[in-house]
């Protein structure tokens, strides 16, 4: 077993988490908690695969996935922003709705045949750097590289541009933003939409690049929930989100790969084909999510960093405060 190969695959898996996590960061920075990430990812995976099969063009699949997931996210936006309903309940409902829609529309898709995947490539010169080069820049899907680009861009957008400034204000103190003529409702709709599109992108990245195909709800297998947890670990910062995403991606791959070979590091592999250990191992990422959440929130309290102050609260004009 080659650790470099596992990490390489881990980066690809991590890219899925990265898209979903950064999407959720945008939504939460605007003050809207969207627990429907898992559902939107399923929609994206199904739509991407389905459109790619019928058109033969994976890029059209990606586009359709982002669009459909974005549209689905607007249901949540309407319920929580306009109707001012509870964001947790609406987000959970969105997960079930997304899973339901994708299962119905994806019926039969798993036997629909092969699809042309998104291209993979190696980056000349940098891929020659020992270890780093082979883990990050050799034979990766184009989506992985898009992920690399997105990290600094998302950070810069949030922290150093005017729309980013307004985004942060809307999530921290919507009444202040409103008083200065920023349209809080419009901004929240927009960033929930962006969150939805990125969740769709994450889904399409699974079904068209990382683990091609449609395997109903096992396609995402709870990665949307890990992304929701990673947002807190990331303290709403895209750069920290990248660290967490790749680490969790690598962990997922490791657990998958470790059950493969009969010999592990020259010894009998205790995990090989052992269902008891297998279930235990598959539980680990979710257990780690909880551990990371605990550590992350403790650190957040200590450093006075925290959730956007208005996260989870509908904005009602004329009510004082948040």
């Amino acid at each position: 077993m080659d650790i470099v190969v596992i990490l390489q695959a881990g980066v690809a898996t991590g890219t899925v988490l990265l898209f979903a996590t950064v999407g959720e960061i945008f939504s939460e920075r605007a003050g809207v908690l969207n627990l429907g990430v898992e559902g939107m990812m399923l929609i994206g995976a199904m739509t991407g695969f389905s459109v790619a099969i019928s058109t033969g063009n994976p890029w059209l699949g990606v586009l359709a996935a982002m669009l459909f997931s974005g549209i689905i996210s607007q249901i949540h936006a309407f319920i929580t922003i306009t109707l001012q309903a509870d964001q947790v309940v609406s987000g959970l409902a969105l997960t079930f709705l997304g899973a339901g829609i994708s299962l119905v529309l994806g019926e039969g898709l798993s036997k629909a045949g092969t699809v042309s995947l998104l291209p993979s490539m190696s980056i000349p010169i940098i891929s020659q750097i020992p270890i780093i080069g082979s883990i990050f820049f050799t034979g990766q899907s184009i989506m992985v590289y898009i992920g690399y680009l997105m990290i600094p861009l998302a950070w810069y957008y949030i922290n150093r541009t005017r729309p980013g400034l307004h985004l942060r204000a809307v999530g921290e103190y919507p009444a202040a933003a409103d008083a200065l003529g920023i349209n809080v409702f419009q901004m929240r709709y927009l960033y929930v939409f962006i969150g939805g599109m990125l969740a769709g992108l994450a889904g399409a990245t699974i079904s068209l690049a990382v683990a091609p195909g449609w395997f109903s709800e096992l396609t995402t297998a709870g990665q949307g929930w890990i992304a929701v947890g990673l947002v807190i670990f990331a303290q709403w910062d895209p750069v920290r989100a990248a660290v967490g995403s790749y680490a969790f991606g690598a962990l997922r791959r490791l657990i998958l790969d470790i059950q493969g070979p009969m010999l592990l590091f020259g010894f009998d592999n205790p995990f090989y084909y052992n269902p008891y250990w297998g279930f235990f191992l598959q539980m680990l990422p979710y257990a780690f999510t909880i551990v990371v959440l605990v550590i992350g929130s403790r650190e957040a309290i200590r450093k006075r960093l925290g959730a956007p102050a208005a996260l989870g609260n509908p904005y009602i004009r004329g009510e004082r405060g948040l």
């Binding site: 541009t161 005017r162 008083a179």
Partner: protein, 525 residues
């Protein structure tokens, strides 16, 4: 914009003219044909009790509300604001009582929020220097790179003013700007306001503090129940008494008649307590104080210096890291709140609607929250609701709680009525000791008087009262002694007699409130 006939008649140096403004809210006539005129370079005070309609009038001018009738003329042009942005564009900016600042962002970011320039990239360094020079021009000292949460309340207020000046505001509406400041900071604010009017800005100063208004304003308008009772009165030769009559419509007794106190044994003994605040930072460091039976002891200080934590510690809502608190020589710190209540503790919290009461429950439910365990309300572990209702009816009469029935949820009550519900519950338990935190915040003059009377009656019946307040006036009116708190430590202790404290005493308390310990303030006081 259309020039109207009345606009042409407007004098050259009139910046704002509001004529015949009417604003109705469901069931309330908030502004009833109010006229208001602001001249260039003046400080115009707008006086009135809570609910008199001054905030409504100014919110109309600031574009937050639309008037039902009447017109607004800015520099001779009739304006029709549909949002605060329109008002700002016309040069009118409002500094709200609750600051509209994003705590996690820097001063510069807050100033630039909502503007069109810079369009995309923020170029913060460049704008930091721009804002620094603007703040220098008006004497508004503040670091543009600091995050809002790191700033004192006074500094945050300066950021709010900067925000408006940066938007080219010619008219600044200041909504009760001194309510959150220490005496020295108030002086600083007045200097800033004067420097602004010298540079041609005009200021509307909303307040209900008469002394300040007489000191700072050039002209004064008074509102009572939605109507203007005085319009552009010159502040020269006006007495606070006259203004108070215009404001309330009757004579107000400024200083309650207070008997000399007769302190007995120590009831509450706070011994060198240390505690953290919600953020895990040190809030109290080695604070000690005592309250005797039959006296009111004030705690003066600028908000956020540990008052909240001190009150929570005493009432049992927070644990102390070191030190102890004794009530009748019985340790009550780090024990349950119930234990403190059983020892005779009463607590009037700062937050009336979240801590002091359960908003959706009825008056009855709220007043029995301490006595429901004892007969006659508790009968064999069950609540006797007819007894509870009778108890509530008694309190309603005794404490003059104005409410249709005792089944009304308390969230529908006005601030003054709600405070009476809380006081009724606390006092009816016949406590030996009471902590009251900001008991009159947000109440109008009449209601304040009522609360003050109840606290004094407690004292005269032999209870010890610890009064935590940010209003020095209130502390002087009620306290027998005042401790000054700063960053979780007691800076000093001052005895207050029956008569008005001298300027020297006020200055000394002001210095202690801003961090000078009593020993370091020169002798001779």
């Amino acid at each position: 914009m259309v020039k109207s006939e009345s606009a042409i008649q407007t004098e050259e140096n009139t910046v704002v003219r509001m004529a015949g403004i009417v604003k109705r809210f469901p069931g309330v006539l908030a502004n009833d044909h109010v006229d208001f005129e602001l001249k260039r370079g003046e400080i115009h005070a707008l006086l009135g009790e809570n609910g008199a309609g001054k905030s409504t009038l100014m919110n109309i001018l600031a574009g937050l509300y639309r008037p039902d009738e009447g017109e607004i003329i800015i520099r001779g042009e009739v304006e029709n604001f549909s949002s605060p942005r329109d008002a700002i564009n016309a040069g009118i900016g409002m500094v709200h009582q609750h600051f509209m600042l994003v705590p996690s962002q820097t001063v510069t970011e807050n100033v630039l929020l909502g503007l069109d320039e810079p369009r995309f990239f923020m170029r913060l360094k460049e704008y930091d220097t721009k804002i620094a020079s603007l703040s220098e021009q008006f004497g508004l000292k503040v670091d543009p790179k600091a995050n809002i949460w790191q700033l004192s309340v006074g500094e945050q207020q300066r950021v709010e003013i900067l925000k408006m000046l940066y938007r080219g505001a010619e008219v600044l509406i200041m909504d009760e700007p001194t309510a959150v400041l220490a005496p020295q900071e108030i002086k600083g604010l007045f200097e800033i306001l004067r420097s602004m009017t010298e540079q041609g800005k005009s200021i509307i100063f909303i307040s209900h503090k008469l002394n300040e208004v007489v000191e700072i304003a050039d002209r004064i308008s008074v509102l009572r129940r939605g109507k203007a009772t005085a319009n552009g009165l010159s502040s020269e030769g006006v007495t606070t008494k006259e203004l108070a009559r215009q404001m309330v419509g009757r004579e107000v007794i400024f200083r309650l008649e207070k008997q000399a106190s007769n302190p007995g044994d120590i009831v509450l003994d706070v011994r060198k307590v240390f505690a953290e605040n919600d953020k895990g930072l040190s809030a109290l460091s080695g604070l000690s104080l005592q309250v005797r039976a039959g006296e009111i002891v004030g705690v003066a200080g600028v908000a956020g210096n540990g008052q909240r934590e001190l009150a929570q510690l005493i009432s049992g809502l927070r644990n102390c890291a070191q030190g102890e608190i004794l009530l009748h020589n019985e340790k009550i710190s780090n024990r349950s709140t119930l234990y403190g209540i059983e020892q005779g503790m009463a607590y009037v919290p700062e937050d009336r609607t979240q801590v002091g009461s359960a908003p959706n429950l009825s008056v009855t439910d709220n007043v029995i929250m301490k006595t429901y365990r004892q007969p006659p309300i508790s009968r064999g572990g069950l609540l006797d609701m007819s007894q509870a209702n009778r108890f509530a009816e008694e309190l309603k009469l005794a404490y003059d709680i104005i409410v249709p029935t005792v089944d009304t949820p308390v969230r529908l009550l006005s601030g003054g009525n709600l405070q009476r519900v809380i006081l009724a519950r606390e006092i009816s338990g016949r406590p030996d000791f009471m902590v009251a935190v900001q008991p009159t915040r947000g109440l109008d003059v009449g209601a304040i008087e009522g609360v003050h009377r109840l606290l004094l009656a407690q004292r005269d019946e032999g209870a010890g009262v610890l009064l935590v307040s940010e209003e020095l006036e209130e502390l002087f009116a009620l306290s027998d002694r005042i401790y000054v708190i700063y960053e979780g430590k007691i800076m000093g202790e001052v005895n207050i007699g029956l008569e008005e404290p001298s300027d020297q005493v006020v200055d000394m308390i002001g210095l202690m409130m801003t961090g000078t310990p009593m020993e370091k303030i020169g002798e001779g006081l």
